[in-house]
Structure formats: structure tokens, C-alpha cells
């Protein structure tokens, strides 16, 4: 597949898109919480793969993992830029694409929870946040996260551990929900 992308075979890009768009969109949507932004990120991620096929190194892990990582980073960048913009504009015009929306399937409660989680995640150190979000949203094994980020596996494991501990504190546990978890 990578061979075909490098050699400019556009049908290969269509195949990659069809295979991974759900996942990439999901990562972008979960992190940004914004439909328009998520769609822009999907477009950017696949255009980047097509324009820079050598930026993806197959020997370092799966295409799936690389696309998720890219989507995650773009989404984090978007959230940062959006926060900066909101601070500038105060809260005047939240309608210009900055509306927090959850997916159609999500209940209002879930949307509240999503916003609460996003805000907790935003308070983690960047490295912990990245490790946790890639696990939450992209289901990439910690080994692959390590390989992609070029850091030792032990580092990723301890980032996940430190991040989860802090999240547990930040999210609190008002209703007792969570301690039983859905457990893996």
C-alpha cells in the first residue's frame, strides 16, 4: 500500500481513506469536540499522507497508528488555537464553528461528560495527555505509541500511569461511577 502511495497511485489513497476515515474522524472528533474541525482534520491528515508519503515509515509501526497520531496532534493544535481565539474574542461569538457538539448518538449527559473529560485531559502534561488520548481514542498499543514517538516503552507506560492517576483525581468520583469501570 505504501509503495502505491509513493508511486502516486491515487486509488491507493481512496482505499486508505475508506479503511481509516472512521477512526481518524473519531480521534479528531473526540479530541476537538467540534464537527467542522474534525472534518477539516480528516482532510488534512489524508492530504498530508498523500503529499508526504515518505513521512510515514512502515518499519516504525502501522499506518493506522500513524494516522491516529497525526489526527491527534492536529486536533490538539486546533483546540489550542481555538482556546486562544476564544480568549481574544471573549465569549461573544461562539457560533462561528466553535460550538461544542457531541455526536448525534450521544446523550446530553454524555456530551457533558465528554466536555468534562476533555477539560481534565487538557490539564495533563502534554506527554501524558498524548499517551492517554492515543489509547482512549485510537486503541494503539503502548508499544506502538513508544515506537512512533521514539521513546522507550517504559516511558509510555509511566506516562499512562501518571496520567490516569491524575485523571482519576481530576474527574473526581462524585457518583461512585468509575471505580467499577467497564474494566479491561
Amino acid at each position: 500500500m505504501h509503495d502505491r502511495l509513493v508511486q502516486g497511485d491515487e486509488s491507493a489513497l481512496a482505499e486508505v481513506y475508506d479503511c481509516f476515515v472512521g477512526l481518524v474522524h473519531s480521534v479528531a472528533m473526540r479530541v476537538s469536540g467540534n464537527r467542522t474541525a474534525a472534518e477539516d482534520i480528516v482532510q488534512e491528515v489524508f492530504v498530508h499522507l498523500w503529499e508526504h508519503p515518505y513521512a510515514f515509515r512502515p518499519e516504525r509501526g502501522s499506518l493506522r497508528g500513524w494516522l491516529c497520531l497525526l489526527a491527534h496532534r492536529r486536533a490538539v493544535d486546533w483546540v489550542r488555537a481555538e482556546h486562544a481565539r476564544e480568549r481574544r474574542v471573549e465569549h461573544a461569538c461562539r457560533t462561528g464553528g466553535g460550538e461544542w457538539v457531541a455526536s448525534a448518538e450521544d446523550s446530553v449527559v454524555a456530551a457533558d461528560e465528554a466536555a468534562r473529560v476533555r477539560s481534565a485531559l487538557a490539564r495533563l502534561p502534554a506527554a501524558q495527555r498524548e499517551a492517554i488520548e492515543l489509547a482512549f481514542y485510537a486503541d494503539i498499543t503502548y508499544r506502538e505509541v513508544a515506537s512512533r514517538l521514539g521513546v522507550p516503552e517504559g516511558t509510555v507506560k509511566s506516562r499512562m500511569r501518571g496520567g490516569l492517576r491524575q485523571l482519576a483525581t481530576l474527574l473526581g468520583n462524585p457518583s461512585g461511577r468509575g471505580t467499577s469501570g467497564e474494566g479491561r
Partner: protein, 344 residues
């Protein structure tokens, strides 16, 4: 208690997040059944997992996003040129080198602003300037033969004079482009290659004579060979650059065309060394040379790319990874004949 206890706590967070390898997952589960401390730690970590998020329905990307994304992609980087079948291998090779240059000549990098005159490239021919100059020179030979404008018109006629005409032309191009940046030289190469591709329309006659020129460096007599030759050379040098920059060399989509070209050149040299050639992998096949009705005295089996590298002078008869059965001297003279075709 299992002896793996020391390793478990470090991996618990990854396990709670569900991102362990399957074997590790089983080990953690087994351990948790026995170890109350780790069970308690897993529960604490689980409190940080927002289960509602993980299990929430996935929003679906709108169908129109597909067309929008693909349109934006081909706007950012053109797909390989749409050309006649006989030139497809060259279109793929040009797209590959272009993609590689995108990676190694990033915008704003000092390398992009480096001018060729600073490169000392004549002594190190397979760095980026050397490869670009070499391909500009050798693609130019076919351009001239087809009556297309040459990017850097040469004072040296094809095949003229003693020694290595390609080397002299390459040196000439390097001198002429001395003040070009690598990015500019890339454009010169790509525009000329693109002219060659546009001169190979989808309905082209594959066996038409390419040129009346019959000198030692004259382009191949038939278009199908002339374009395969350009593809082969571009692919070989792209492989050189890939190695130089630690990137992966790609397997040509139309490897079959490169092999067919190589075998057409090889067959006449094997009249004294009839062999069965088994090339494995995508693009491979099985041939009896010099002619299908010959009685082979040996069988040479190799990966199709590996054999192309022998044609391209990037393997020697001694270093090529090939399996030989039957008469070894016959097989070795066949490998030597293939290696002798290299002139890149």
C-alpha cells in the same frame, strides 16, 4: 504469587486502557486473580478512565468529505501521470523520486537553498545534485531523440567521443546548473521528465521506433524500451537516494515492465548459457533464456527486485542473492551477463 509480579505494576495503566499486546493482557489477567495489591491499583487507575467516552457512539464522517478530501489531495500533489501502458513504469518512477525529494528537500530547509555549485557533486555522483544532473542529462538524450526540447541542451552529441558520454553530460549539466538551488534543479528535472511523459499518450504505439539514431548511447530503438530504460535508471537512482537518507526503497508497481526490458537485453547474451530464470515476488515470473525452446542447463532463482538491482549495477554476480541449481558455471555466466548490462 507469580514470578512476574515485578513487571505487572508498570504495565497496569496500559492494561486498564486496553492497549497491551494480547500475550501481556493474558499475563496481567492471570496475575490480577492472585494479587490483591495489583487489583486495588487497577481499580484506582480505572477511576481515571471515562468509560462513557470510550463506549459512546462514534460520530460518522459525512460522505461528501471523501470527495472533498481526495480532490484536495490531488490538488496538493498530482497523481502519477496518466500515460500509455508502455510508459507507466516511467510515470511511477518519476512520482517516486518526486515524493522522495519532497521528503528530503523540505521547504525552508537550508538544503533547499544550497546551490549545486557548492555540492562538490562530481566526485560524489549519487547525492541529490548528482542524481538530478545525471537524470536531466540522460532524460535529455531521449528528449532530443523524440524532438522534444532538452532541459539543458548539450554540446556533446549522443555517443560522441571517447570514454563515458553519460558521465561527461552529467558533469556538463552540473556545471551549467551550478547556480541553481536543489529545489530549482528538481523543477528542471521534473519538467523535462513530464515532457517525456506527455509525449507518451495513452494510445501510443508501443513498438514504434523511437529514433533513427543508432550510436552507442542512442536511445533504444523502440519506445517501449526507451521508456523502460528511463524508468529503470530513475528507479535505480531513487533507490540510491533512499539508502542515502535511510528511507525505504519501494517495489515498482510495474516491476514486470522493468524485468521484461532487462530480459530483452539479456537474452541475446545467453546463447552459450541457456538458463531457466525464476524471479519471485510481485512482478516476477519464469523464463527460459535465450529462447523459450532452449534447453536450460541451470536454474537461477532470485527475488525480482534483487535481479533488477543486478541489471542496475547495484549487485554483483557474487553479491546478488540468488539460488542456483544445475550447472553452476552456466548460471554464473548468466549472472555475469546480466551484470554486464549495467551502465548506470
Amino acid at each position: 504469587m507469580s514470578d512476574s509480579h515485578d513487571r505487572i505494576p508498570s504495565v497496569l495503566a496500559a492494561w486498564v486502557l486496553g492497549v497491551c499486546e494480547p500475550t501481556e493482557d493474558a499475563r496481567v489477567r492471570a496475575h490480577l486473580r492472585e494479587c490483591a495489591d495489583c487489583r486495588a491499583e487497577a481499580d484506582r487507575l480505572r477511576a481515571g478512565v471515562p468509560g462513557r467516552i470510550r463506549n459512546g457512539g462514534r460520530p460518522v464522517p459525512p460522505p461528501a468529505l471523501r470527495a472533498r478530501t481526495l480532490r484536495a489531495a490531488v490538488g496538493a500533489r498530482a497523481p502519477r501521470a496518466s500515460v500509455g501502458t508502455y510508459a507507466a513504469c516511467f510515470a511511477d518512477a518519476v512520482a517516486t523520486l518526486d515524493a522522495l525529494l519532497t521528503e528530503v528537500l523540505p521547504g525552508g530547509d537550508p538544503a533547499t537553498r544550497r546551490v549545486i555549485g557548492d555540492a562538490g557533486a562530481v566526485g560524489e555522483p549519487w547525492d541529490v545534485p548528482g542524481v538530478l544532473a545525471h537524470l536531466i542529462a540522460t532524460d535529455g538524450v531521449l528528449c532530443a531523440a523524440l524532438g522534444l526540447p532538452e532541459a539543458v541542451p548539450s554540446a556533446i552529441a549522443a555517443g560522441e567521443g571517447p570514454g563515458d558520454p553519460d558521465g561527461r553530460r552529467t558533469a556538463e549539466v552540473l556545471t551549467r546548473l551550478r547556480d541553481h538551488t536543489l529545489a530549482e534543479a528538481r523543477t528542471v528535472w521534473h519538467d523535462q521528465a513530464d515532457r517525456l511523459l506527455r509525449a507518451a499518450p495513452p494510445t501510443g504505439d508501443t513498438t514504434a521506433p523511437a529514433t533513427g539514431d543508432t550510436g552507442p548511447r542512442a536511445p533504444a530503438a523502440r519506445l517501449v524500451d526507451a521508456y523502460a530504460d528511463r524508468a529503470f535508471e530513475t528507479w535505480i537512482h531513487t533507490g540510491d537516494l533512499a539508502r542515502l537518507f535511510g528511507l525505504r526503497a519501494v517495489r515498482p508497481i510495474r516491476l514486470d515492465q522493468l524485468i521484461a526490458y532487462g530480459l530483452r537485453a539479456l537474452a541475446p547474451r545467453l546463447t552459450e548459457a541457456p538458463v531457466r530464470l525464476v524471479l519471485t515476488g510481485r512482478g516476477g515470473g519464469e523464463w527460459i533464456l535465450p529462447t523459450p525452446d532452449a534447453t536450460p542447463r541451470a536454474t537461477v532463482t532470485a527475488d525480482a527486485v534483487e535481479f533488477c538491482l543486478l541489471f542496475g549495477g547495484r549487485r554483483t554476480p557474487a553479491s546478488v542473492r540468488a539460488h542456483i541449481t544445475g550447472d553452476h558455471p552456466t548460471a554464473h555466466s548468466a549472472l555475469a551477463a546480466a551484470a554486464s548490462l549495467a551502465r548506470l
